[in-house]
Symmetry: C2
Subunit: 202 residues, 2 copies
């Protein structure tokens, strides 16, 4: 059993990397097999089709990302710390599995099956954070004159484009350590200052 699941895992790993960098359509099953060190036929025996690989990958991704939902962030009394932790979590998650998700989101417009898989992920995330933000607008932690959905979009815009510029477009280097990286904190600070606007009242 160990050996069997191992090959399946290796196939998924290879597919994940290739899908993330080349996209779903541009990745051939032959390439997946080669990278996994596995015969191409094995892929079809284990996953039935190329789409089957994507589906299995989707499940693994869902399992992986389930742990880093908005709710799972430590809701300390300090909203700023909570959001900063969320930003770091989001960026780390995007680097790990999100680069794949981002690519697939692009592929979704051309490959209908991909669209179903990615589906409501992005809008749902936006909505979830917007709710959280709205709560803290009510308590006065955040400025109330901005639509919480716009604010959520600003937040995800920061984190997703941070990764996009680095991983996909190669505009800069990835941080050595996401948890302590100074650049992320500065980037977050721009958002936070804008969203909280502490001391802005005249």
């Amino acid at each position: 059993m160990s050996a069997a699941t191992d090959t399946a895992e290796r196939i998924l790993d290879a597919a994940s990397e290739l899908f993330a960098t080349h996209g779903y359509a541009a990745t051939t099953t032959r390439a997946i097999a080669e990278r996994a060190g596995v015969n191409e036929v094995t892929i079809f025996r284990r996953f039935e089709s190329k789409l089957g690989v994507l589906r299995a990958l989707g499940e693994r991704l869902a399992r992986l990302q389930a742990g880093r939902a908005v709710a799972s962030a430590p809701d300390s009394a300090n909203v700023r710390d909570t959001l900063l932790a969320l930003a770091r979590m989001e960026i780390r998650g995007t680097i790990e599995g999100g680069a794949l998700a981002m690519r697939l989101a692009f592929d979704a417009t051309s490959v209908p099956e991909v669209r179903e898989l990615i589906g409501e992920g992005v809008p749902a995330n936006l909505e979830g954070l917007a709710e959280y933000l709205a709560e803290h607008q009510a308590t006065g932690d955040l400025r109330a004159d901005i639509d919480p959905r716009v604010m959520a979009e600003a937040f995800f815009g920061l984190t997703s484009s941070y990764v996009m510029y680095r991983m996909v477009m190669g505009a800069a280097d990835l941080p050595v350590d996401v948890e302590t990286d100074e650049g992320i904190e500065q980037l977050f600070d721009v958002f936070w200052s804008g969203a909280s606007q502490r001391g802005q009242e005249p």
Copy 2:
């Protein structure tokens, strides 16, 4: 001559739309021909190859975007207005030609020729805005404790992800009128408040 350039233009228009929504690799020359209302052979006679179409498109795009560089924004005394105008310009430009550029940036990782075309565009833009921001940090219009490159990244993160969420991921609707849309102003306001932090001194 008029009729001849017209068909070439129609081919480029069709290719632009298809590349933007489906990506370079996933767009077939047949599809381009069909959308342009032109025989497939004509494409090869005019542009030699599929890559030739992309190259011609790249030139047209460069011509189109040359007019909307950072420098071309009216540098009024008011930095906020300048940046807001730039944000609107950037979003409109991204909707018009940037969605294509964004998609091609993704394709660049799989299609090496595409990478050359997109090339240094993104980093150069970042650098250009960073310079502008640094100048106004020096004059006190913007807070100085943030790396100007980080600030530029926050700016482009906002504008590019604004379009990405809407056009590519279909998370929301595009604005009816970019120039007056309230959502863009709110989104920009989050950035601006964070970047200027007016009245933040204790």
